[in-house]
């Protein structure tokens, strides 16, 4: 039932379930700072105020309070080609429209950052507006311009191209496949997107979640079968990969 996920800075803090991610349901408030009450997001750096701010989940988006005296925070859209918003000191209830964001706090000459995901952003077909009554909504709303969609397309490509029992590609193969359209693709960015897709598509967390190796493979398999079953990626969607599939190595 959560709609917002906060991902603490890598390495910092103890590991909890789901990689330390904090899930917020609509109305939940998460304080962040150097010395926050239990349940808050602790940012252990001398340059961060004791209570630096708050994040509140609202429907499918979130709002942020900057509780610092004199520091401006920046919320970046990592896929937005530099798109960002500034949150001035003292500003409360600033709405953040991005599906995923990096919140950047200046701290004594350094920059601290953590991520916030808003995976429930919804899309509907414009041509179907004007119809009366509440519509039966699809379970998934994917943004086809986002990188996670390209990763999903790459995962599904071989099966969509007529090899229904082909093994799902490895992360390295996906990186190679995405490079023409996304030159800076790396293993870690692909991992990140697979993780995000599992959240976005609300994959059931299986018992294999405890074993890291199995976990990734199971996740990829589940993503592909879900995507194909519900037509989240169709053959004509493979254009997001940028060019025709490379020749298979003999």
């Amino acid at each position: 039932m959560h709609s917002i996920i906060v991902v603490p800075p890598a390495g910092g803090g103890e590991r909890t379930a789901h990689g330390g991610r904090i899930e917020l349901a609509s109305g939940d408030v998460l304080p962040f700072g150097r010395d926050v009450p239990a349940g808050g997001l602790e940012l252990g750096h001398e340059g961060v105020p004791r209570i630096a701010g708050e994040i509140t989940a609202h429907h499918a988006f979130w709002i942020i309070d900057n509780l610092s005296e004199n520091q401006t925070y920046v919320v970046e859209n990592p896929e937005g080609a530099g798109e960002h918003i500034k949150i001035a000191p003292g500003r409360v209830d600033a709405p953040v429209p991005f599906e995923f964001s990096r919140v950047v706090l200046p701290a004594a000459g350094e920059l601290l950052a953590f991520e916030v995901w808003a995976p429930r952003h919804a899309y509907r077909t414009a041509s179907r507006s004007g119809l009366s009554g509440p519509a039966t909504a699809p379970a998934f709303a994917l943004d086809r311009t986002k990188r996670y969609y390209a990763v999903l397309a790459a995962l599904c490509e071989t099966r969509l191209r007529g090899a229904p029992h082909a093994p799902v590609p490895t992360v390295d193969q996906i990186v190679e496949r995405l490079r023409p359209a996304w030159p800076s693709a790396t293993r870690s960015s692909v991992y990140w997107n697979i993780d995000y897709l599992a959240v976005k598509l609300r994959l059931k967390r299986g018992p294999e979640d405890h074993e890291p190796g199995l976990r990734l493979n199971g996740k990829k398999e589940s993503l592909v079968s879900l995507a194909l079953r519900f037509d989240l990626v169709r053959e004509e969607d493979l254009v997001v990969l940028g060019c025709a599939a490379p020749e298979m190595a003999p």
């Binding site: 909504a137 379970a139 609300r202």
Partner: protein, 478 residues
Amino acid sequence: MTESPYAVPVPKGFRVGSWEVLEPLADGAFGSVYAARRISADSGARRIWADSGARRISADAEAGGELPAVAALKFLPTGTRAPHRFNHLRELAERETELLSRLRAPRIIRLYETLTVEAPGRPGLDGATVLVLEKAEASLAALLRRPPAPAAGPALLVQVCEGLHQLHRAGWVHGDLKPANVLLMKDGSVRLADFGLAAKLEGAAAYSPGFSTPDHTPPELHWAELGERGQQIRPSTDLWAFGVLAHLVLTGTHPLPGSTAEARGDALVRYARGAEDLRLSPELPGAWREIVTDCLARTHEERARHDASSLLLRVERAAGSTSSSRLRSLRLLRRPRLLVAAAALLGVAVALGSAVVYERGGEEVGYGYHHCPAQSVCFFSEDNGEGQMCSWEASDPDWLAGPETCAWTRHAPVRSVYFNAGDPAAFHGVEYFRGRDFTPAGFDLERDTLRTGCTAARAQGNLAGTYAPRSHRLVKRC
């Protein structure tokens, strides 16, 4: 290509099987519904696009079921060249066809036949699956758009609950119960429709493709996790939706606060997490309050203590329409209005065949007739089946004496009538008289027929009179 607002645009006059498409009726997330009239497949010089060898549902053919003159055609874009080419649409079409061809129940919309469009020149239509369904007059959603809340709400809900009971007993879960999927027929009865998300129970649960209407979805399915087979739904999913529907019908408002579906979604989350209690409308009558509260219990486990059959008993009791009671006189449907002096010129019954009050498109729709139990003849104190009602299952030689009396007719006229005869009906008419023992009295004596009026089986309408009959009897025909 210009996008039509309809999922499947079908031109007027298009022919499929023995049907000619008329105007669009409704549009859903997956398909479009059009009115159609039956023509003989070989009539006219116009080109027939239809697949004339279309498969008929055999159950109907065996039962000697005639195709009706008009029907609702539901087009599902299952063709391989449709612009919205989705494999899962084929799965939805299969679900709906499977359910409807197997399950014939009084409160489930009737499927007459399924057809496949063969129209090579029209890629959007070619290969579409067409379900030929009973045509309804309106949906409950259309009725609810016109406040105030319908006076016959409780009777409507009884029928919706009957539908759920029939569905669950047959081993299916609806999965998308909402006002738009509750249809109202010309005779005032209710049908459940739209079974694209219905799922067959496998043990205690079923798998649905994961589509849902947020306002009618229980908390556990709100952004729920998905397995590879989709979303797990259970009969308690429909119970939640029934609770929402009952609140909407009885009070005109959604049970959770908020002006948008998103805001209500937030309220749902807060309620489900125990942060807030359910605050139902104070307008909700006591017996209904308990029913709605049980249907809207926070968890599946709490809701699962109830099922459609126990719910039906309570809903019937709350609506005051237990099927065992024979006489249902003096049922106050709503606060009586001051009766306006009738402007009737002659005080005779109008020709009922032409007085059917159901109309399409923005007009007043009278659903008070819903309150009339099956196999009964009902007389009402106000137009359109509203006001107080007396109903009988048989003839009555004296309305004001004997075991069954209809006291309000002593002082007030009968304004509308409905003969809710069974199908097939043993009697095809009900005649009524101003005198006792089926005898004419007063103005009756000046009429050729020597009676006040006669209403055919399944007819309903307003009476122009300022009188109340004193006796009525069921007859073979009027």
